[in-house]
Symmetry: C2
Subunit: 198 residues, 2 copies
């Protein structure tokens, strides 16, 4: 038995499929939208329509934008550092941008190598990375510190070797604000090995 | 410095104003939408457009629906029990419907009396409740067990007294599945007073 009209029920069901929202919070979100119909629901509806029409994938780096090449790839100042940061996903690119890492360019792999899930090199944007890399002076493999991430990093390092380009990875260590007591042994031992002069 | 196009940034900002979503989770939600453009983003955009056009408030009870009177008020079987359940908000109505409380009708107050916040009887749907109540055999005040909720319940009881209609409230007691140890003293003492024969 539906509590409300079919248009509202359908909206609840679709919102419940968003990450971080379940059936209950989707219901609450829809009531919130309806209460703020003029200030939130109608603008959101219009923004979603516009985003659907505008969104595209950058043909160079794989970033999500409304233009292609995206405005990071189109910005000539981004080439100055000569750094190309390789990430698994667009969300990682956005996280690095939020951190303000500076004038760098990116390359989104679209995932990591995972033989068990049937993800091979051809399923990721690796060929285009090898093709782009010679434009840069250094390739930073900012993949996640997981087994798949590290496997992918090794694979890319091997493929880039003939080009002689400098390949680096992010530093391991203690997160800023982190407490040693809560860190795993692997991180701690890496942080000690890579200790720096104060 | 925006990481992505203005249409996408605007969508993130609007989604971040939804309950349960912040700036970070809104960003994640938008990336999820873009990844599932055909299966989620486009249907959601269409559903939101349809809901904006269809949503309305029931002129009788205050429920949110796509027709007015809403389909609870329009359903003749809902009158059989003679029960009118008074709730603060549409979300409470939906919660009771999910609980399957049976063939009842509802009245949404749109809030509770709160002199400090400047909410008086005229700001709530109390006059229309007094007007409707004589159609029913019993009015259940299912307001929240807060000070404002209880004040509102007292006020409505006073206003309904001349009509001679039976006015009740929800039982206080131990939540089903709840542990005594975690319950406050008020609930426990109410639950003991209202103990029932097994």
């Amino acid at each position: 038995m539906a509590t409300t009209g079919p248009e509202i029920e359908q909206l609840i069901q679709l919102l419940a499929r968003m990450p971080g929202l379940g059936p209950r919070s989707a219901r609450r979100a829809v009531l919130h939208l309806i209460k703020k119909k003029d200030s939130l629901m109608i603008p959101l509806s219009a923004a979603l329509d516009r985003a659907v029409a505008a969104v595209t994938e950058c043909s160079v780096c794989g970033n999500v934008d409304t233009v292609s090449p995206c405005h990071i790839c189109a910005d000539p100042r981004r080439a100055e550092s000569g750094l190309l940061i390789v990430v698994e996903d667009v969300s990682d690119l956005w996280a690095l941008e939020r951190a303000g890492v500076g004038s760098v360019r990116y390359h989104v792999l679209g995932g990591v190598l995972s033989p068990l899930d049937g993800v091979g090199p051809d399923d990721l944007s690796i060929d285009s990375l090898i093709h782009r890399a010679p434009e840069f002076t250094e390739v930073v493999l900012a993949v996640n510190a997981t087994v798949e991430g590290q496997t992918t990093a090794h694979y890319i390092t091997d493929r880039l070797q003939p080009s002689g380009i400098r390949v680096t990875r992010l530093a391991h260590g203690v997160p800023v604000g982190g407490e040693l007591d809560y860190l795993d042994e692997g991180t701690l031992s890496q942080a000690l090995k890579a200790r720096t002069l104060i």
